[in-house]
Subunit: 338 residues, 2 copies
């Protein structure tokens, strides 16, 4: 087959790769229905940090099971499945507590920007649907694999619930789906921080009630203005930079909740500032597996359409253009057709 490799900053190649094989008895091989490019893929693309050798890319996937290892019990050949970017046995004490993305056997997926994919720990990682879903639902189902699951975790970790005022920092695909998630959880007011018109529009469509274009100190002041001077109940940090983290912590009210779901890059949190902010802080790699059954159901019943974040669709062999478009912010998120 062919697959996507990164060789260095802005050097993405779609090239010959060995077909994946069952290497461990808990593995499955999938033929992907679609895959995509993640905001986090832009970090190595921009060389921060760079890769030290050619590295396969992609960790969002859904598709049809082609083959399973001999220990696989629940996942069957021919099923349509979605899996998380983190593998999990779904049975260890950490998984049972709902933190499958820190499973004691966890591996982070790669190699998914390709037509075929090996998934370790298939029984604990993959969630099958009852039937092969119609083609038009594939983008939404693919979104549950990471970008929606991560936005959902942002809202869940910040204890979004009916009546709450929620701020979403970041208007990337995760931030936009964090808006959708907050709406699903019944938030009364959802303030999206965005200065890009097309993203503002999608945020409003997903349930944002207010748009704030200011950033930094001005952004914090604007949130205080909108929240009786005290800050928001829940603030969802969906970027991963020092500026966004500081802004998130300082936008929450004392006793409020701040979540962060993008891998922090160069972020240091000042202990004293956090202490007097008096907030709850929770984040990490989203335990997507915890949410997959519910999210898949919401997509299949068409209660939500997270697939709208894909505003660029390309064939897999044009993956390099997909990266370029996202890097230049011409696209929110690129869907890759296999």
């Amino acid at each position: 087959m062919q697959g996507t490799m990164i060789y260095g900053p802005r050097d993405i190649r779609y090239e010959d790769r060995p077909d994946p094989q069952i290497t461990r008895p808990a593995d499955a091989i999938l033929r992907l229905s679609a895959t995509c490019i993640c905001g986090s893929d832009l970090w190595p693309y921009r060389g921060n940090p760079g890769v030290d050798k050619p590295t396969p890319m992609g960790h969002e996937y859904c598709g049809i099971v082609e083959e399973v290892g001999k220990e696989v019990r629940n996942i069957k050949r021919g099923q349509f499945v979605v899996g998380s970017f983190a593998t999990s046995d779904n049975s260890c004490i950490i998984c049972r507590d709902g933190y499958q993305s820190s499973c004691v056997q966890r591996e982070f997926m790669n190699s998914a920007q390709a037509p075929l994919l090996r998934v370790p720990l298939a029984d604990g990682t993959l969630v099958p649907t009852n039937e092969v879903p119609p083609k038009e639902l594939i983008p939404g189902l693919l979104a549950t694999s990471d970008v929606l699951g991560t936005g959902w975790f942002a809202a869940d970790a910040a204890i979004v619930k009916p009546g709450r005022t929620v701020v979403v920092v970041g208007d990337g695909a995760v931030g936009l789906l964090a808006v959708l998630s907050a709406k699903q959880m019944g938030a009364e007011r959802i303030i999206a921080m965005s200065r890009h018109e097309s993203r503002q529009k999608l945020a409003l469509e997903f349930g944002a009630t207010d748009i704030v274009t200011e950033r930094g100190e001005e952004g914090i002041a604007r949130i205080k203005d909108l929240t009786k001077g005290i800050g928001a109940d829940s603030v969802l940090e969906c970027v991963g930079t020092q500026e966004s983290m500081t802004q998130a912590i300082r936008s929450a009210r004392p006793g409020g909740f701040v979540s962060y779901v993008g891998v922090p890059h160069g972020v240091e949190i000042d202990g004293r500032g956090l202490f007097f902010a008096h907030v709850h802080l929770h984040g990490g790699p989203a335990p997507v597996r915890r949410y997959l059954p519910k999210l898949i159901d919401l997509v299949l019943t068409e209660k939500i359409n997270p697939g709208k974040v894909f505003d660029l669709v390309l064939p897999l062999n044009q993956v390099a253009e997909g990266y370029r478009a996202m890097d230049e912010r011409r696209a929110i998120k690129t869907l890759l057709l296999t």
Copy 2:
């Protein structure tokens, strides 16, 4: 009257001070039954940070109401009361959510290492008892004002509950009372990190089930050994240094809860480390007012005796020796008799 002032590092003076007066209509004046020295008082005592001018000291107090301002409704002359180190109106939106120590009208108390004390926002800050309590319960009641309330918040913020494994980092008075609090909340296992024999003994008396003497990497490894390799459910950071914060975060299991209740001094939290630790982090100035009614009741009914942390009792005019003894770790906590 006379009262306690700090002039610089290790320069504590008990000297003439003006008697406190009602200066605002919500104030009350108390005649203190006892007061004490806080672990946090040692920061300026050690010059970290130093004071830039002579500064009154003390923020833990209980006593008899001598006088109230004309807007005070609930607190009456002659009542015995306990108050928090942070004043609160107990009616703003932040107070109603239980975060009185971040009340919109909050002031941090000082001047309490003296026989008389002015307390602002008396109705929202002070909690009266039905009767003047017997003398032998005064140390325990005084402890509710900060050190117990802070230890209790450490346990509450780290979601200690029946069945949980809890680690307490720090064997000062707050850490020891965090052990007592965790025990009251039904923790199954309480691991106290301490290398001082007298403090280990008190920790065991308060409910610790295990003592760990190692620190840093070795301490973290020891906690992992004791928790099936994954870390504790709840870790209570009761020190406020970089080492203790790092140790706390890395001793918790993914999905676990870390609280921190001492003002952080020079603490920077690495964003990426926190992300992959996958913990919940919550702390800040303890909202003691939230807990006071319950804690006062536990002391009055003699279900707990937090007064045991006072292992040195001095008359107020020997306050400087009280600081010295705590600085040199000859005493856990000094009670000052008025």
